[in-house]
Protein backbone atom coordinates (compact mmCIF):
# COMPACT_ATOMS: atom_id res chain seq x y z
CA UNK A 1 0.00 0.00 0.00
CA UNK A 2 1.32 3.41 -0.95
CA UNK A 3 1.55 6.02 1.84
CA UNK A 4 -1.05 8.39 0.42
CA UNK A 5 -3.59 5.57 0.37
CA UNK A 6 -3.79 5.26 4.17
CA UNK A 7 -6.53 6.91 6.20
CA UNK A 8 -6.00 10.06 8.26
CA UNK A 9 -5.99 8.19 11.58
CA UNK A 10 -3.47 5.65 10.26
CA UNK A 11 -1.15 8.42 9.04
CA UNK A 12 -1.61 10.27 12.32
CA UNK A 13 -0.31 7.20 14.18
CA UNK A 14 2.65 6.89 11.84
CA UNK A 15 3.51 10.56 12.33
CA UNK A 16 3.18 10.54 16.13
CA UNK A 17 5.19 7.32 16.43
CA UNK A 18 7.83 8.92 14.16
CA UNK A 19 7.57 6.08 11.65
CA UNK A 20 7.30 8.81 9.01
CA UNK A 21 8.00 12.53 9.05
CA UNK A 22 5.35 15.05 8.09
CA UNK A 23 7.70 16.57 5.49
CA UNK A 24 8.25 13.23 3.76
CA UNK A 25 4.56 12.48 3.77
CA UNK A 26 3.63 15.90 2.37
CA UNK A 27 6.20 15.44 -0.40
CA UNK A 28 4.63 12.08 -1.15
CA UNK A 29 1.19 13.72 -1.35
CA UNK A 30 2.33 16.49 -3.70
CA UNK A 31 4.08 13.97 -5.93
CA UNK A 32 0.76 12.19 -6.18
CA UNK A 33 -1.05 15.44 -6.95
CA UNK A 34 1.44 16.42 -9.65
CA UNK A 35 1.19 13.08 -11.35
CA UNK A 36 -2.58 12.58 -11.28
CA UNK A 37 -4.19 16.01 -10.91
CA UNK A 38 -3.88 16.87 -14.63
CA UNK A 39 -6.42 14.09 -15.26
CA UNK A 40 -8.76 14.89 -12.37
CA UNK A 41 -8.65 18.71 -12.05
CA UNK A 42 -9.85 18.72 -8.45
CA UNK A 43 -8.07 21.91 -7.40
CA UNK A 44 -8.42 25.57 -8.31
CA UNK A 45 -5.40 26.57 -6.19
CA UNK A 46 -2.60 24.34 -4.94
CA UNK A 47 -0.92 25.46 -1.72
CA UNK A 48 2.37 23.61 -1.94
CA UNK A 49 4.79 26.21 -0.64
CA UNK A 50 2.86 26.97 2.54
CA UNK A 51 2.16 23.24 3.07
CA UNK A 52 5.86 22.35 2.98
CA UNK A 53 6.72 25.16 5.41
CA UNK A 54 3.99 24.02 7.76
CA UNK A 55 5.20 20.40 7.54
CA UNK A 56 8.72 21.40 8.61
CA UNK A 57 7.25 23.39 11.49
CA UNK A 58 5.22 20.41 12.75
CA UNK A 59 8.17 18.04 12.37
CA UNK A 60 10.17 20.42 14.57
CA UNK A 61 7.37 20.47 17.17
CA UNK A 62 7.30 16.68 17.27
CA UNK A 63 11.10 16.52 17.46
CA UNK A 64 11.07 18.92 20.42
CA UNK A 65 8.32 16.91 22.11
CA UNK A 66 5.97 19.93 22.06
CA UNK A 67 2.23 19.42 22.11
CA UNK A 68 0.73 19.03 18.64
CA UNK A 69 -2.87 19.39 17.46
CA UNK A 70 -5.43 16.68 16.76
CA UNK A 71 -4.75 16.89 13.00
CA UNK A 72 -0.98 17.27 13.23
CA UNK A 73 0.56 17.01 9.79
CA UNK A 74 -2.59 15.74 8.07
CA UNK A 75 -3.16 17.16 4.58
CA UNK A 76 -6.65 18.54 4.08
CA UNK A 77 -8.25 20.09 0.99
CA UNK A 78 -10.67 22.96 1.42
CA UNK A 79 -13.56 23.83 -0.89
CA UNK A 80 -12.94 27.14 -2.61
CA UNK A 81 -15.97 28.86 -1.09
CA UNK A 82 -14.46 28.69 2.40
CA UNK A 83 -12.29 31.69 3.24
CA UNK A 84 -8.58 31.07 3.76
CA UNK A 85 -6.43 33.99 4.87
CA UNK A 86 -3.90 35.03 2.21
CA UNK A 87 -5.01 32.21 -0.09
CA UNK A 88 -7.31 32.75 -3.09
CA UNK A 89 -10.98 31.98 -2.49
CA UNK A 90 -12.78 32.21 -5.82
CA UNK A 91 -16.04 30.28 -5.35
CA UNK A 92 -15.21 29.04 -8.87
CA UNK A 93 -16.60 32.36 -10.08
CA UNK A 94 -15.01 34.91 -12.38
CA UNK A 95 -16.41 37.61 -10.11
CA UNK A 96 -14.04 36.50 -7.29
CA UNK A 97 -11.08 35.57 -9.47
CA UNK A 98 -8.73 37.90 -7.60
CA UNK A 99 -10.23 37.64 -4.11
CA UNK A 100 -7.76 36.92 -1.29
CA UNK A 101 -9.57 36.84 2.05
CA UNK A 102 -8.03 38.91 4.84
CA UNK A 103 -9.34 36.38 7.39
CA UNK A 104 -9.85 32.66 7.98
CA UNK A 105 -13.26 31.02 8.16
CA UNK A 106 -14.01 29.55 11.60
CA UNK A 107 -13.49 26.02 10.28
CA UNK A 108 -10.15 26.95 8.67
CA UNK A 109 -9.01 28.57 11.91
CA UNK A 110 -9.87 25.29 13.66
CA UNK A 111 -7.85 23.28 11.11
CA UNK A 112 -4.83 25.52 11.64
CA UNK A 113 -5.17 25.39 15.44
CA UNK A 114 -5.04 21.60 15.23
CA UNK A 115 -1.95 21.68 12.96
CA UNK A 116 -3.64 20.40 9.80
CA UNK A 117 -1.96 21.18 6.48
CA UNK A 118 -4.08 22.86 3.82
CA UNK A 119 -3.00 21.35 0.49
CA UNK A 120 -5.22 23.41 -1.76
CA UNK A 121 -8.60 24.87 -2.61
CA UNK A 122 -10.97 22.59 -4.45
CA UNK A 123 -13.20 23.11 -7.44
CA UNK A 124 -16.97 23.51 -7.14
CA UNK A 125 -20.01 24.61 -9.07
CA UNK A 126 -19.88 28.42 -9.11
CA UNK A 127 -21.02 29.65 -5.67
CA UNK A 128 -21.90 26.00 -4.88
CA UNK A 129 -24.84 26.15 -7.29
CA UNK A 130 -24.99 22.78 -8.98
CA UNK A 131 -24.81 19.02 -8.60
CA UNK A 132 -21.97 18.10 -10.95
CA UNK A 133 -19.15 20.69 -10.59
CA UNK A 134 -19.68 21.41 -14.31
CA UNK A 135 -20.80 24.96 -13.44
CA UNK A 136 -17.29 25.99 -12.38
CA UNK A 137 -15.95 28.97 -14.32
CA UNK A 138 -12.46 27.47 -14.26
CA UNK A 139 -12.44 23.75 -14.98
CA UNK A 140 -14.36 20.51 -15.10
CA UNK A 141 -13.44 18.03 -12.40
CA UNK A 142 -13.49 14.37 -13.38
CA UNK A 143 -14.64 11.43 -11.31
CA UNK A 144 -11.60 9.30 -10.35
CA UNK A 145 -13.70 6.15 -10.89
CA UNK A 146 -14.46 7.07 -14.47
CA UNK A 147 -12.88 10.13 -16.03
CA UNK A 148 -15.84 10.60 -18.37
CA UNK A 149 -18.21 11.01 -15.42
CA UNK A 150 -18.89 13.95 -13.13
CA UNK A 151 -17.74 13.75 -9.50
CA UNK A 152 -21.10 15.14 -8.36
CA UNK A 153 -21.39 18.53 -6.78
CA UNK A 154 -21.15 21.08 -5.72
CA UNK A 155 -18.24 19.88 -3.54
CA UNK A 156 -17.02 17.74 -6.47
CA UNK A 157 -13.40 18.90 -6.15
CA UNK A 158 -13.26 17.93 -2.46
CA UNK A 159 -14.79 14.49 -3.07
CA UNK A 160 -12.55 13.81 -6.09
CA UNK A 161 -9.46 14.99 -4.16
CA UNK A 162 -10.10 12.48 -1.37
CA UNK A 163 -11.04 9.66 -3.76
CA UNK A 164 -7.87 10.25 -5.81
CA UNK A 165 -5.69 10.36 -2.63
CA UNK A 166 -4.68 14.01 -3.10
CA UNK A 167 -5.53 14.69 0.54
CA UNK A 168 -6.53 12.54 3.49
CA UNK A 169 -9.67 14.54 4.14
CA UNK A 170 -11.48 17.59 2.83
CA UNK A 171 -13.99 20.23 3.77
CA UNK A 172 -17.02 20.81 1.60
CA UNK A 173 -20.24 22.74 2.04
CA UNK A 174 -23.89 21.83 1.76
CA UNK A 175 -26.99 23.76 0.89
CA UNK A 176 -28.99 20.91 -0.65
CA UNK A 177 -26.71 17.86 -0.64
CA UNK A 178 -23.45 19.27 -1.96
CA UNK A 179 -21.27 17.12 0.32
CA UNK A 180 -23.28 13.89 0.53
CA UNK A 181 -24.03 13.59 -3.19
CA UNK A 182 -20.42 13.98 -4.47
CA UNK A 183 -19.20 11.75 -1.61
CA UNK A 184 -21.62 9.07 -2.85
CA UNK A 185 -20.60 9.50 -6.49
CA UNK A 186 -16.87 9.33 -5.62
CA UNK A 187 -17.08 6.42 -3.16
CA UNK A 188 -16.07 8.36 -0.04
CA UNK A 189 -17.72 9.38 3.24
CA UNK A 190 -19.53 12.74 3.53
CA UNK A 191 -21.24 14.36 6.49
CA UNK A 192 -23.74 17.17 6.47
CA UNK A 193 -23.98 18.25 10.12
CA UNK A 194 -27.07 19.60 11.87
CA UNK A 195 -27.80 23.21 10.93
CA UNK A 196 -25.90 25.28 13.51
CA UNK A 197 -23.50 22.48 14.52
CA UNK A 198 -20.63 24.06 12.56
CA UNK A 199 -20.08 27.81 12.28
CA UNK A 200 -20.77 29.38 8.88
CA UNK A 201 -18.41 32.28 9.59
CA UNK A 202 -16.23 32.61 6.51
CA UNK A 203 -18.26 30.20 4.40
CA UNK A 204 -19.33 32.32 1.44
CA UNK A 205 -23.09 32.62 1.86
CA UNK A 206 -25.49 30.94 -0.60
CA UNK A 207 -28.72 29.96 1.22
CA UNK A 208 -28.11 31.10 4.78
CA UNK A 209 -30.90 29.09 6.42
CA UNK A 210 -29.58 25.91 4.73
CA UNK A 211 -25.80 26.28 4.42
CA UNK A 212 -23.50 24.08 6.52
CA UNK A 213 -19.84 23.11 6.24
CA UNK A 214 -19.38 19.35 5.93
CA UNK A 215 -16.60 16.76 5.90
CA UNK A 216 -15.27 14.42 3.21
CA UNK A 217 -13.10 11.48 4.26
CA UNK A 218 -12.00 7.97 3.33
CA UNK A 219 -13.82 6.28 6.17
CA UNK A 220 -16.21 6.86 9.04
CA UNK A 221 -13.61 7.16 11.79
CA UNK A 222 -11.77 9.91 9.89
CA UNK A 223 -15.11 11.69 9.50
CA UNK A 224 -15.57 11.53 13.28
CA UNK A 225 -12.09 12.99 13.78
CA UNK A 226 -12.63 15.92 11.41
CA UNK A 227 -16.18 16.72 12.53
CA UNK A 228 -14.96 16.85 16.14
CA UNK A 229 -12.47 19.53 15.15
CA UNK A 230 -14.80 21.82 13.17
CA UNK A 231 -17.99 21.50 15.28
CA UNK A 232 -18.76 23.92 18.08
CA UNK A 233 -20.12 27.29 19.05
CA UNK A 234 -18.84 30.45 17.41
CA UNK A 235 -19.75 33.95 18.44
CA UNK A 236 -19.33 35.15 14.86
CA UNK A 237 -22.25 33.10 13.55
CA UNK A 238 -25.46 34.00 15.35
CA UNK A 239 -27.11 30.78 14.14
CA UNK A 240 -24.28 28.67 15.53
CA UNK A 241 -25.60 26.35 18.25
CA UNK A 242 -24.27 26.48 21.77
CA UNK A 243 -24.51 22.72 22.23
CA UNK A 244 -21.58 20.69 23.67
CA UNK A 245 -19.53 18.72 21.10
CA UNK A 246 -19.16 15.06 22.12
CA UNK A 247 -16.07 12.98 21.38
CA UNK A 248 -17.26 11.43 18.12
CA UNK A 249 -14.57 8.73 18.10
CA UNK A 250 -15.30 7.56 21.61
CA UNK A 251 -17.41 4.35 21.56
CA UNK A 252 -17.91 4.65 17.79
CA UNK A 253 -17.85 0.82 17.79
CA UNK A 254 -20.72 0.37 20.25
CA UNK A 255 -22.81 -1.44 17.66
CA UNK A 256 -26.44 -1.08 16.71
CA UNK A 257 -28.28 -3.85 18.48
CA UNK A 258 -31.97 -2.93 18.80
CA UNK A 259 -31.66 0.02 16.41
CA UNK A 260 -34.87 0.95 14.58
CA UNK A 261 -34.18 1.96 10.98
CA UNK A 262 -36.90 3.79 9.07
CA UNK A 263 -37.30 3.19 5.35
CA UNK A 264 -39.35 5.98 3.78
CA UNK A 265 -41.63 4.44 1.17
CA UNK A 266 -41.60 7.68 -0.86
CA UNK A 267 -37.86 7.29 -1.49
CA UNK A 268 -38.17 3.84 -2.99
CA UNK A 269 -40.81 4.48 -5.65
CA UNK A 270 -40.78 5.73 -9.20
CA UNK A 271 -37.99 5.23 -11.68
CA UNK A 272 -35.24 3.94 -9.55
CA UNK A 273 -31.81 2.79 -10.60
CA UNK A 274 -31.68 -1.00 -10.23
CA UNK A 275 -28.07 -1.12 -9.01
CA UNK A 276 -28.75 1.53 -6.37
CA UNK A 277 -31.87 -0.33 -5.30
CA UNK A 278 -30.02 -3.62 -4.95
CA UNK A 279 -27.10 -2.05 -3.02
CA UNK A 280 -29.54 -0.51 -0.55
CA UNK A 281 -31.51 -3.73 -0.09
CA UNK A 282 -28.27 -5.64 0.57
CA UNK A 283 -27.13 -3.00 3.05
CA UNK A 284 -30.37 -3.28 4.98
CA UNK A 285 -29.90 -7.05 5.21
CA UNK A 286 -26.52 -6.44 6.84
CA UNK A 287 -28.12 -4.09 9.34
CA UNK A 288 -30.80 -6.66 10.15
CA UNK A 289 -28.14 -9.29 10.69
CA UNK A 290 -26.40 -6.91 13.12
CA UNK A 291 -29.56 -6.67 15.19
CA UNK A 292 -31.40 -3.70 13.71
CA UNK A 293 -35.09 -3.65 13.01
CA UNK A 294 -36.22 -2.23 9.67
CA UNK A 295 -39.46 -0.26 9.87
CA UNK A 296 -41.53 1.15 6.99
CA UNK A 297 -42.24 4.83 7.45
CA UNK A 298 -43.75 7.63 5.43
CA UNK A 299 -42.44 11.12 4.70
CA UNK A 300 -45.53 12.26 2.79
CA UNK A 301 -44.24 15.65 1.62
CA UNK A 302 -41.04 14.34 0.03
CA UNK A 303 -42.18 15.05 -3.52
CA UNK A 304 -42.46 18.78 -2.74
CA UNK A 305 -38.93 19.14 -1.34
CA UNK A 306 -37.17 20.07 -4.59
CA UNK A 307 -39.76 22.74 -5.40
CA UNK A 308 -39.53 24.22 -1.90
CA UNK A 309 -35.76 24.15 -2.06
CA UNK A 310 -35.47 26.02 -5.34
CA UNK A 311 -37.63 28.82 -3.97
CA UNK A 312 -36.04 29.09 -0.52
CA UNK A 313 -32.40 28.59 -1.53
CA UNK A 314 -32.63 30.93 -4.51
CA UNK A 315 -34.54 33.61 -2.64
CA UNK A 316 -31.76 33.62 -0.06
CA UNK A 317 -29.11 33.46 -2.78
CA UNK A 318 -30.55 36.45 -4.63
CA UNK A 319 -30.14 38.47 -1.47
CA UNK A 320 -26.72 37.07 -0.50
CA UNK A 321 -25.25 37.59 -3.97
CA UNK A 322 -26.36 41.21 -4.10
CA UNK A 323 -23.03 42.00 -2.41
CA UNK A 324 -21.10 41.36 -5.63
CA UNK A 325 -21.32 44.85 -6.99
CA UNK A 326 -17.74 45.61 -7.96
CA UNK A 327 -17.20 47.97 -5.02
CA UNK A 328 -15.39 46.20 -2.17
CA UNK A 329 -13.87 43.12 -3.76
CA UNK A 330 -13.81 41.05 -6.89
CA UNK A 331 -14.32 41.95 -10.52
CA UNK A 332 -15.32 45.43 -11.69
CA UNK A 333 -16.23 46.21 -15.27
CA UNK A 334 -14.06 48.65 -17.19
CA UNK A 335 -15.09 52.27 -17.81
CA UNK A 336 -18.65 52.20 -16.45
CA UNK A 337 -20.83 55.14 -17.45
CA UNK A 338 -22.36 55.41 -13.96
CA UNK A 339 -22.99 53.46 -10.80
CA UNK A 340 -25.96 51.40 -12.05
CA UNK A 341 -24.12 50.61 -15.27
CA UNK A 342 -21.17 49.47 -13.13
CA UNK A 343 -23.35 47.12 -11.07
CA UNK A 344 -25.08 45.65 -14.09
CA UNK A 345 -22.04 45.12 -16.27
CA UNK A 346 -19.90 43.86 -13.39
CA UNK A 347 -22.48 41.22 -12.49
CA UNK A 348 -23.30 40.25 -16.08
CA UNK A 349 -19.61 39.71 -16.82
CA UNK A 350 -18.80 38.07 -13.49
CA UNK A 351 -21.58 35.52 -13.02
CA UNK A 352 -22.13 32.36 -15.05
CA UNK A 353 -25.51 31.30 -16.39
CA UNK A 354 -26.59 29.06 -13.53
CA UNK A 355 -25.88 31.79 -10.99
CA UNK A 356 -27.79 34.34 -13.08
CA UNK A 357 -30.70 31.93 -13.41
CA UNK A 358 -30.89 31.37 -9.66
CA UNK A 359 -30.55 35.03 -8.71
CA UNK A 360 -33.37 35.84 -11.12
CA UNK A 361 -35.56 33.02 -9.86
CA UNK A 362 -34.96 34.16 -6.28
CA UNK A 363 -35.75 37.77 -7.03
CA UNK A 364 -38.88 36.71 -8.87
CA UNK A 365 -40.07 34.66 -5.86
CA UNK A 366 -39.48 37.60 -3.54
CA UNK A 367 -40.82 40.32 -5.82
CA UNK A 368 -43.93 42.31 -5.14
CA UNK A 369 -47.05 40.36 -6.08
CA UNK A 370 -45.30 36.98 -6.06
CA UNK A 371 -43.94 36.79 -2.51
CA UNK A 372 -47.01 35.07 -1.03
CA UNK A 373 -47.42 32.67 -3.91
CA UNK A 374 -43.81 31.53 -3.91
CA UNK A 375 -41.63 32.38 -0.93
CA UNK A 376 -44.33 32.28 1.74
CA UNK A 377 -45.90 29.16 0.28
CA UNK A 378 -42.52 27.41 0.13
CA UNK A 379 -41.71 28.39 3.73
CA UNK A 380 -44.98 26.79 4.84
CA UNK A 381 -44.36 23.57 2.95
CA UNK A 382 -40.87 23.55 4.42
CA UNK A 383 -42.51 23.35 7.84
CA UNK A 384 -44.58 20.36 6.67
CA UNK A 385 -41.40 18.63 5.53
CA UNK A 386 -39.76 19.19 8.91
CA UNK A 387 -42.90 17.88 10.64
CA UNK A 388 -42.67 14.71 8.54
CA UNK A 389 -39.20 14.04 9.99
CA UNK A 390 -40.27 14.89 13.55
CA UNK A 391 -43.13 12.38 13.27
CA UNK A 392 -40.86 9.72 11.75
CA UNK A 393 -38.26 10.07 14.49
CA UNK A 394 -40.89 9.24 17.09
CA UNK A 395 -41.00 5.77 15.57
CA UNK A 396 -37.41 5.19 14.46
CA UNK A 397 -33.84 6.09 15.48
CA UNK A 398 -32.60 6.87 12.00
CA UNK A 399 -33.67 6.85 8.36
CA UNK A 400 -31.77 5.06 5.61
CA UNK A 401 -32.16 5.78 1.90
CA UNK A 402 -30.00 6.23 -1.20
CA UNK A 403 -27.88 9.39 -1.31
CA UNK A 404 -28.40 9.82 -5.05
CA UNK A 405 -30.98 8.15 -7.29
CA UNK A 406 -28.20 7.27 -9.76
CA UNK A 407 -24.43 6.63 -9.72
CA UNK A 408 -22.15 9.21 -11.36
CA UNK A 409 -23.54 10.42 -14.69
CA UNK A 410 -21.59 11.40 -17.79
CA UNK A 411 -20.10 14.87 -18.18
CA UNK A 412 -22.49 16.96 -20.27
CA UNK A 413 -25.39 14.55 -19.90
CA UNK A 414 -27.53 16.89 -17.77
CA UNK A 415 -25.78 20.19 -18.34
CA UNK A 416 -28.45 21.66 -20.62
CA UNK A 417 -31.46 20.86 -18.50
CA UNK A 418 -31.38 22.73 -15.18
CA UNK A 419 -34.55 21.08 -13.87
CA UNK A 420 -33.24 17.57 -14.47
CA UNK A 421 -30.02 18.54 -12.69
CA UNK A 422 -32.03 19.91 -9.75
CA UNK A 423 -33.80 16.57 -9.42
CA UNK A 424 -30.49 14.77 -8.80
CA UNK A 425 -30.68 16.17 -5.26
CA UNK A 426 -34.10 14.75 -4.50
CA UNK A 427 -32.90 12.52 -1.63
CA UNK A 428 -30.53 14.98 -0.02
CA UNK A 429 -32.54 18.22 -0.08
CA UNK A 430 -35.13 17.28 2.60
CA UNK A 431 -32.43 17.04 5.32
CA UNK A 432 -31.24 20.58 4.57
CA UNK A 433 -34.80 21.91 4.66
CA UNK A 434 -35.38 20.21 8.03
CA UNK A 435 -31.92 21.09 9.39
CA UNK A 436 -31.15 17.49 10.36
CA UNK A 437 -27.75 15.76 10.01
CA UNK A 438 -26.92 13.14 7.40
CA UNK A 439 -23.99 10.96 6.45
CA UNK A 440 -23.32 9.25 3.13
CA UNK A 441 -21.16 6.12 3.12
CA UNK A 442 -20.14 3.74 0.31
CA UNK A 443 -22.51 0.75 0.12
CA UNK A 444 -21.80 -0.89 -3.23
CA UNK A 445 -20.92 -0.54 -6.89
CA UNK A 446 -22.95 -0.35 -10.06
CA UNK A 447 -22.49 -2.83 -12.89
CA UNK A 448 -20.15 -0.30 -14.54
CA UNK A 449 -18.05 -0.23 -11.37
CA UNK A 450 -19.21 3.17 -10.14
CA UNK A 451 -19.61 3.73 -6.38
CA UNK A 452 -23.06 3.82 -4.77
CA UNK A 453 -23.75 5.79 -1.60
CA UNK A 454 -26.14 5.12 1.24
CA UNK A 455 -27.47 7.92 3.36
CA UNK A 456 -28.25 7.78 7.07
CA UNK A 457 -30.34 10.63 8.48
CA UNK A 458 -30.85 11.35 12.16
CA UNK A 459 -32.34 13.76 14.66
CA UNK A 460 -30.91 17.22 15.27
CA UNK A 461 -27.46 17.03 16.92
CA UNK A 462 -27.30 13.23 16.79
CA UNK A 463 -24.19 13.07 14.61
CA UNK A 464 -22.57 10.77 17.13
CA UNK A 465 -25.28 8.17 16.73
CA UNK A 466 -25.10 8.47 12.92
CA UNK A 467 -21.36 7.81 13.04
CA UNK A 468 -21.92 4.71 15.19
CA UNK A 469 -24.56 3.42 12.78
CA UNK A 470 -22.32 4.13 9.78
CA UNK A 471 -19.31 2.52 11.43
CA UNK A 472 -21.27 -0.64 12.27
CA UNK A 473 -21.84 -1.10 8.52
CA UNK A 474 -18.38 -0.07 7.41
CA UNK A 475 -16.79 -2.59 9.78
CA UNK A 476 -18.72 -5.39 8.06
CA UNK A 477 -17.94 -4.35 4.49
CA UNK A 478 -15.01 -3.37 2.29
CA UNK A 479 -16.61 -0.89 -0.14
CA UNK A 480 -14.76 2.01 1.51
CA UNK A 481 -11.29 0.47 1.01
CA UNK A 482 -11.71 -0.12 -2.74
CA UNK A 483 -9.70 2.33 -4.81
CA UNK A 484 -10.39 3.60 -8.31
CA UNK A 485 -8.02 2.29 -10.96
CA UNK A 486 -6.83 5.50 -12.53
CA UNK A 487 -6.25 5.41 -16.23
CA UNK A 488 -3.95 8.35 -16.41
CA UNK A 489 -2.26 9.68 -19.48
CA UNK A 490 0.75 11.47 -17.96
CA UNK A 491 2.89 9.41 -15.64
Amino acid sequence: MRLFEFTALQIKNKILSKEISVSDFIKNVFDRIKRVEPNIQAFITINEEEAIKKAIEIDRKIENKENVGLLAGLPIAVKDNICTKNLYTTCASKILKTFIPPYDAFVVKRLREEDAIIVGKTNLDEFAMGSSTENSSYKITRNPWNLECVPGGSSGGSAAAVAADFSLMALGSETGGSVRQPAALCGVVGIKPTYGRVSRYGLVAFGSSLDQVGTVSKDVRDAALLLGVIAGYDLHDSTSANVPVPDYLDRIDSGIDGLRIGIPKEYFTGSFNADVNKALKDALKIYERLGAQVVDISLPHTEYAVAVYYIVANAEASSNLARYDGVRYGHRTSKPSGIIDMYCRTRSEGFGNEVKRRIMLGNYALSSGYYDAYYLKASKVRNLIKNDFDAAFEKVDCIICPTSPVPAFKIGERANNPLEMYLSDIYTIPANLAGIPGISIPCGFSEEGLPIGMQILGKHFEEKKLLQIAYAFERETDFHVKKPVLKISSM
Partner: protein, 95 residues
Protein backbone atom coordinates in the same frame (compact mmCIF):
# COMPACT_ATOMS: atom_id res chain seq x y z
CA UNK B 1 -46.45 29.20 -15.25
CA UNK B 2 -45.35 30.90 -18.40
CA UNK B 3 -43.03 33.79 -18.01
CA UNK B 4 -42.54 36.19 -20.93
CA UNK B 5 -39.66 38.28 -22.19
CA UNK B 6 -40.93 41.43 -20.51
CA UNK B 7 -41.05 39.73 -17.14
CA UNK B 8 -37.57 38.31 -17.67
CA UNK B 9 -36.34 41.80 -18.43
CA UNK B 10 -38.07 43.11 -15.29
CA UNK B 11 -36.45 40.47 -13.05
CA UNK B 12 -33.07 40.93 -14.72
CA UNK B 13 -33.27 44.60 -13.89
CA UNK B 14 -34.19 43.84 -10.26
CA UNK B 15 -31.18 41.52 -10.21
CA UNK B 16 -28.87 44.14 -11.77
CA UNK B 17 -28.05 41.73 -14.57
CA UNK B 18 -28.06 42.60 -18.27
CA UNK B 19 -29.01 39.84 -20.63
CA UNK B 20 -28.13 39.35 -24.24
CA UNK B 21 -30.98 38.53 -26.62
CA UNK B 22 -29.80 34.93 -26.66
CA UNK B 23 -29.76 34.68 -22.84
CA UNK B 24 -33.23 36.21 -22.68
CA UNK B 25 -34.57 33.52 -25.01
CA UNK B 26 -32.88 30.79 -23.00
CA UNK B 27 -34.10 32.08 -19.63
CA UNK B 28 -37.70 32.54 -20.82
CA UNK B 29 -37.73 28.88 -21.65
CA UNK B 30 -35.78 27.60 -18.61
CA UNK B 31 -37.43 29.72 -15.92
CA UNK B 32 -40.87 28.87 -17.29
CA UNK B 33 -40.16 25.18 -17.01
CA UNK B 34 -38.75 25.52 -13.47
CA UNK B 35 -41.73 27.61 -12.38
CA UNK B 36 -44.15 25.08 -13.86
CA UNK B 37 -42.48 22.41 -11.77
CA UNK B 38 -42.78 24.59 -8.67
CA UNK B 39 -46.53 24.97 -9.32
CA UNK B 40 -46.99 21.58 -7.69
CA UNK B 41 -46.80 23.34 -4.31
CA UNK B 42 -50.23 24.79 -5.06
CA UNK B 43 -51.82 21.36 -4.79
CA UNK B 44 -51.16 21.48 -1.03
CA UNK B 45 -53.48 23.16 1.42
CA UNK B 46 -51.28 25.29 3.71
CA UNK B 47 -54.02 27.52 5.10
CA UNK B 48 -53.22 26.60 8.73
CA UNK B 49 -49.49 26.01 8.41
CA UNK B 50 -46.98 28.46 9.78
CA UNK B 51 -44.01 29.42 7.58
CA UNK B 52 -40.61 28.26 8.79
CA UNK B 53 -37.28 29.87 7.94
CA UNK B 54 -34.99 28.47 10.62
CA UNK B 55 -35.07 24.92 11.87
CA UNK B 56 -33.39 25.52 15.22
CA UNK B 57 -35.01 27.52 17.96
CA UNK B 58 -33.25 30.80 17.35
CA UNK B 59 -34.11 33.98 19.18
CA UNK B 60 -32.22 37.26 19.20
CA UNK B 61 -28.59 36.71 20.01
CA UNK B 62 -27.23 39.43 22.25
CA UNK B 63 -23.76 40.12 23.58
CA UNK B 64 -22.16 42.78 25.70
CA UNK B 65 -21.37 45.91 23.74
CA UNK B 66 -17.63 45.72 24.19
CA UNK B 67 -14.91 47.07 21.94
CA UNK B 68 -13.13 44.38 19.98
CA UNK B 69 -10.46 44.59 17.31
CA UNK B 70 -11.79 44.40 13.76
CA UNK B 71 -10.13 43.75 10.41
CA UNK B 72 -7.53 46.47 9.81
CA UNK B 73 -8.22 49.23 7.30
CA UNK B 74 -5.51 48.15 4.83
CA UNK B 75 -6.94 44.60 4.93
CA UNK B 76 -10.45 45.92 4.32
CA UNK B 77 -9.30 47.84 1.24
CA UNK B 78 -6.88 45.28 -0.13
CA UNK B 79 -9.39 43.55 -2.43
CA UNK B 80 -11.14 46.67 -3.68
CA UNK B 81 -10.94 47.38 -7.43
CA UNK B 82 -10.51 51.13 -6.77
CA UNK B 83 -9.76 53.10 -3.60
CA UNK B 84 -8.85 56.64 -2.63
CA UNK B 85 -7.33 57.22 0.79
CA UNK B 86 -9.41 55.24 3.25
CA UNK B 87 -12.43 55.01 0.90
CA UNK B 88 -13.80 52.68 -1.77
CA UNK B 89 -13.93 54.63 -5.00
CA UNK B 90 -17.02 54.34 -7.25
CA UNK B 91 -18.41 56.29 -10.22
CA UNK B 92 -20.42 59.38 -9.40
CA UNK B 93 -23.71 58.40 -7.70
CA UNK B 94 -25.56 61.73 -7.57
CA UNK B 95 -25.75 63.70 -10.78
Amino acid sequence: MKIDKEEIEYIANLSRIRLTEQERELFVHQLSSILSYIEKLNTLDTENVKPMAYTNKVSNVFREDELEPSISLPDVLINAPATKGCFFKVPKVIE
